[in-house]
Subunit: 341 residues, 2 copies
C-alpha cells in the first residue's frame, strides 16, 4: 500500500505526521456527490457497487484524505434483518413498522449476509480494485444500541425515549434484539473484511444518550462482542459519540482506535483511554464554517494537543453539508503540513 | 416559608432529605396543563399572569414538588429585545428574521424590562400570593449563548452550526450580541427577584454543543456576569446541559447550585464541582417511562450516589410529554421517602 499511515497509526507505529480523514467525507458538501444524489435515490447509490465505489473515491481524489470509507448507511443492517427502511432525504430515516412487542420481533431475523448484503461486499471489492493500494479502506457498521434506536423508535429522535423505554420495560426482549443485531453485524463486518476492508469502525451515534450505567449494560457488551470477533482480522475503531465517560471501558475491549468528539479535552481522553490505543478526532464540524486562517490555527491547536503518537486526525462527528470544499481541504492540508517539532 | 428545603439545600444547610422538583414540571405530561393548552396559545399562557400562575401551581398541587418554577419560556427575552418569535407547538420556535449581520443587530435592543416583561413580574407577584409560603418559587432565564443560538439560527437545530459559524466568523458582533443579552437578562432576573422569585436558574440548554474552549470564551463569561450580578440577592443555579467539562469553572462563578445531566456519574460531578456547591439532577427523563418499581429502584440508586448533602433531586433535563402522571409522582415520592440512614 502506498499510503498506509492510517493502519500504522492504528497499530501504534511511527507515522511522521498523523493520518487524516473525515467522518461523512463522501457527502453533501461535495458538488460531485450532489450531482449523483440528484440522479439516484439513496438506496440505489448504496446498492449499486459502481455508484458506491465512485462516491467512496470522491474525497480521496478531491480532498486528498489518507483513507477511504465505504459509502453506505448503518440502516442497511436493519433492512437486511427484515425491517422496511425508508430514507427520505429531507426528513431522515423512517421505519414504518418498528419493533415494539415480542410479536414484532418475529418479523426480524438474523439474515445470511451473503444473500442480503452481497451488494456491499461487491462494492468493497470494486473500491479496493479502483483504489489500487493508494490508501486503506475503512468498512463500518452501526453499534447494536444505535441500530436498536431506529428499529424501535422508527425514526430519528432527540432523545430516543421510546427506544430507551423499550429497554427499561422489556429488557429481555431488548437484549434478544441486541444479540440478533450483534450476530448480524459480526457476520456483516467479517464479510466486509473478506471483501477487502482494511479496518472497520463501529458507529455508536446514540451511545452518549445513555447514562454511564445504561451504556455499560445496553451498548458496551455488544460492542465488546463485535470487537472480540473482528480484532484478530483487522484493527477495529469504536466511535461512541458523547460516551466520553466509557473511554476506559471501550479501550479495554481490545479495539485499536477510539473516536472522540470535541467535548472532551484531548489530554483527558488520553488519560482515560490509556497509552495503548489510538485516539481519533475531534474537530468540531461546525468549526469548518470558520474562515480558513481560523481553521488552520484551530487544527494546529488540536494537533499540538494530541501530539504525534497513536493519533488519527478527524472531525468529532460527520462533516456538515454547508461546509465549503476549500474549508474541508484546508483541514486536511493543515494536518499534512503539521510537524510536531 | 413552610417548606424551604430547596433554599436550605442551596445554602448548604441540613435538609433531612433532599428537596425535589422536576425541570419542565409544569408541562405537557399533565392533563390539567393540556386542557389550558387547548384553550390558549403559548404566549397567551405566558403573558396572562392568571394563566401563568395557574400552570406554575399545577405540579405543586398535583405532584407535590418542593418548589414551583415560573411558567414561561427563555425566548421571551429575544422577543423583548425586538425579535419576532413564533412558537408553533408542533414544530418548535421560529424566529423569522434572525441576526446574521451587523445591520441585523440594529433591530435588537436592550429593552426596559419593566415595559417589555412586566407581565412576567406580575405573574410572579400573583404566584407568590397564591403559593402563600408553601414552597419557594424559582425564576429563570436562558443563558446568553443559548439565546444567541435561537437569535442567529432562527429555529431549533441539532448542531446550531449557523450560530457557531456566526461566533467564529464575526466574533466581535457575537460578543456584542452576547453582552446585550447579558445586560437584558441581568435586569430581567433582578426584576424577577424584586417581584418575589426566591432563587433563579440559568438554562444553558445548548452549552454542551460547545467545545470546552469555546464554552469558556462564548458562554461562561456571560453566565459569570449574571451570577455576579444576582448572587447577593438570591441563590443562583446554573444548568448547562452537557457541559460537564466546565463544572469546576461554573462552580467558581459563585453560583449556589449546578444542574447536571445523567451522563456524568455523581461522584465525578462532585469531585469536579468541589464540596462548596449544591448539585442538582440527574435522573434520565426517559427513565420515567420505566415501570414504577424500576423508577423507585433507580431513584434510590441516584439518591444513594449523591448522598444527603448539598443536593437537590431533579431530572437531568425536562420531563417528557409521554410520562404518565403516576410515574412523575413516583419519582417525587421516592425522594420524599428516602432516608440516608
Amino acid at each position: 500500500m502506498k499510503n498506509d499511515l492510517l493502519l500504522k497509526a492504528l497499530r501504534g507505529e511511527e507515522t511522521g505526521r498523523p493520518p487524516v480523514w473525515m467522518m461523512r467525507q463522501a457527502g453533501r458538501y461535495l458538488p460531485e456527490y450532489m450531482a449523483l444524489r440528484e440522479q439516484y435515490g439513496f438506496f440505489e447509490r448504496c446498492q449499486t457497487p459502481e455508484l458506491a465505489c465512485e462516491i467512496t473515491l470522491q474525497p480521496v481524489n478531491i480532498i486528498g484524505v489518507d483513507a477511504a470509507i465505504l459509502f453506505s448507511d448503518i440502516l442497511v443492517v436493519p433492512q437486511a434483518m427484515g425491517l422496511e427502511v425508508q430514507l427520505i432525504e429531507s426528513k431522515g430515516p423512517v421505519l414504518p413498522a418498528p419493533v415494539k412487542t415480542r410479536s414484532d420481533l418475529q418479523r426480524v431475523r438474523v439474515p445470511d449476509v451473503n444473500e442480503t448484503l452481497q451488494y456491499v461486499f461487491d462494492a468493497i471489492s470494486l473500491i479496493k480494485k479502483e483504489l489500487n493500494g493508494r490508501v486503506p479502506l475503512i468498512g463500518f457498521a452501526g453499534a447494536p444500541w444505535t441500530l436498536l434506536c431506529y428499529m424501535v423508535q422508527g425514526k430519528g429522535s432527540k432523545t430516543f425515549d421510546e427506544a430507551k423505554a423499550f429497554c427499561y420495560t422489556q429488557p429481555d426482549l431488548a437484549h434478544e434484539l441486541l444479540q440478533m443485531i450483534t450476530d448480524t453485524t459480526i457476520a456483516y463486518l467479517k464479510g466486509q473484511v473478506a471483501a477487502g476492508a482494511d479496518t472497520v469502525q463501529i458507529f455508536d451515534s446514540w451511545g452518549g444518550l445513555l447514562s454511564p450505567e445504561d451504556f455499560k449494560s445496553i451498548s458496551l457488551p455488544y460492542i465488546q462482542q463485535i470487537v472480540g470477533a473482528l480484532k484478530e482480522d483487522v484493527p477495529v475503531i469504536i466511535f461512541a459519540k458523547g460516551a466520553w465517560y466509557a473511554l476506559e471501558e471501550m479501550a479495554a475491549t481490545g479495539a485499536s482506535g477510539l473516536g472522540i468528539d470535541w467535548c472532551i479535552p484531548p489530554a483527558l481522553a488520553r488519560k482515560m483511554a490509556g497509552s495503548n490505543i489510538t485516539l481519533q478526532g475531534n474537530f468540531d464540524p461546525a468549526k469548518l464554517l470558520s474562515p480558513i486562517p481560523v481553521i488552520k490555527k484551530e487544527v494546529n491547536n488540536m494537533l499540538n494537543a494530541f501530539g504525534n503518537g497513536r493519533y488519527i486526525a478527524n472531525l468529532g462527528h460527520g462533516i456538515l453539508p454547508n461546509v465549503p470544499v476549500d474549508h474541508a481541504r484546508a483541514f486536511v492540508d493543515t494536518v499534512k503540513e503539521w510537524s510536531s517539532s
